[in-house]
């Protein structure tokens, strides 16, 4: 009879660890939730920080390129480009900024790709002002054919995560003896 009572008291008892088993379930769930959110936050933080760094570098590059209020000529533009010190892939070019709204073309990456297989034909200044056959009609830098090819390839292959970042600014370009506003495009990518 005494034995029977002892057994009754030990009902459900399955040892020291077995007794704490139900309490381990919330602990494991808690740890799982915490580490999943922590990892996702860390990844988000890393992506956003990289994104911010890319933008920051693009702004730094464009600040260097805009350090002089007027670009006097092609050599001056090249010299300013040489001052850019970065490990990023980048390119910069000038396009006209007409005062007449009717002659204004929105130039974005889509325009560069859909309108021209060879971007150099888009990245030109007004043919009425500059000799269209002159190499100095095309203001882009770093002035290497490889760089422009890399830019074109990157534009075509960019995806959501690895975008080509393009900033545009107004700047003055001295053409002959006149300083006129033009658009400075700065493209940066990973």
């Amino acid at each position: 009879m005494v034995r029977l009572n002892m057994k009754k008291k030990q009902k459900g008892y399955i040892g020291a660890i077995g007794d704490d088993l139900p309490s381990l379930i919330p602990i494991f769930i808690g740890l799982l939730i915490f580490f999943s959110v922590f990892l996702s936050t860390y990844n988000n933080y890393k992506t956003e920080t990289q994104n911010f760094d890319l933008h920051q570098d693009a702004i730094d590059i464009s600040m260097t390129l805009r350090s002089e209020p007027v670009i006097i000529d092609y050599n001056h533009f090249t010299n300013i480009c040489n001052k850019v010190n970065t490990n990023r892939n980048w390119t910069a070019f000038l396009i006209d900024l007409p005062q007449d709204l009717d002659n204004y073309n929105e130039v974005d990456l889509e325009f560069l790709l859909t309108n021209d297989e060879d971007n150099t034909q888009i990245i030109v200044l007004d043919e009425n002002i500059y000799d269209p056959n002159s190499e100095q009609n095309i203001f882009y830098c770093p002035n290497t054919s490889k760089n422009l090819d890399k830019f074109k390839t990157k534009v075509k292959t960019q995806d959501e995560k690895h975008k080509v970042l393009v900033y545009v600014y107004p700047i003055n370009l001295q053409i002959e003896y006149h300083a006129v506003p033009v658009r400075l495009y700065v493209a940066v990518w990973e």
């Binding site: 939730i33 959110v37 936050t41 988000n44 920080t49 702004i59 005062q99 709204l101 107004p170 300083a179």
Partner: protein, 261 residues
Amino acid sequence: MNKLKRQKAQAAITDALFFLTIIIVLTVMLFKYSASYGDRVDLAINNLYFKEYSNSALKTIFYSEIPLDYNKNIFESEEIDYLMTAVKTDFYPDKHIGSGDLNYMFNPIDEDIPNPDVSNPDDIAKYNLFHTIKSVMMPLPSYDFTFYLYNTNDQKFEYIMLKITDFENSENDSNKTYKLNDINMGLSKYYLCDPLNYNDIREVISKANDIHASSVPLTFTAKEGRDETELEITSTFAIWPANKSIAQKELEKLNCKIYND
């Protein structure tokens, strides 16, 4: 004592539930931080870029050159000058930019031979300032802006230009000369204004969100009798994303006249 011993498992599960609660609170905080971090980074990037853009626009306006004769093409013009020098020269004799009211502008290059009824050579600087500002903001069609020259000595505006995107009348006016902004489907309208005081413009502009502004102090010289006085003029360029917060009727307060040539 025995009773407590028997309830050991219940105490353990209560501790675990407390632990889970703490974890959930921490997780929610972490998640909130993660979600808002992207917004904060975007905001910081936008601030950096648009601040730089407005700086660059102001610099471009100051260093642009304009024709001083009636020729529309600067490259065929025989006489040119820096835009701001032309504005200062215009200001010098009568402490006033242009020939008419602050919100009025002749078209100095309307015809080959200027017609005094429609064109006035005194407005060359004002006209070119208007069109240069319009031009430097063309790469950002979805942004509205204001540019003004404020005389801090006399507490009055010497020049004030506004671009406001009109979302209200876009269908009625789309067949007119206003340029339809493809990005936000509004009509870009450009104004010259003559506000009574600084508070009026501040009241209207403050309705826009995310304003990025850049200011440069300038010194203008004006002739007063036989003497010359130096005046402090603040040049300010402010941009903001076009939205419906500034209604067309608000512009009546500022005595604005539209110029969409």
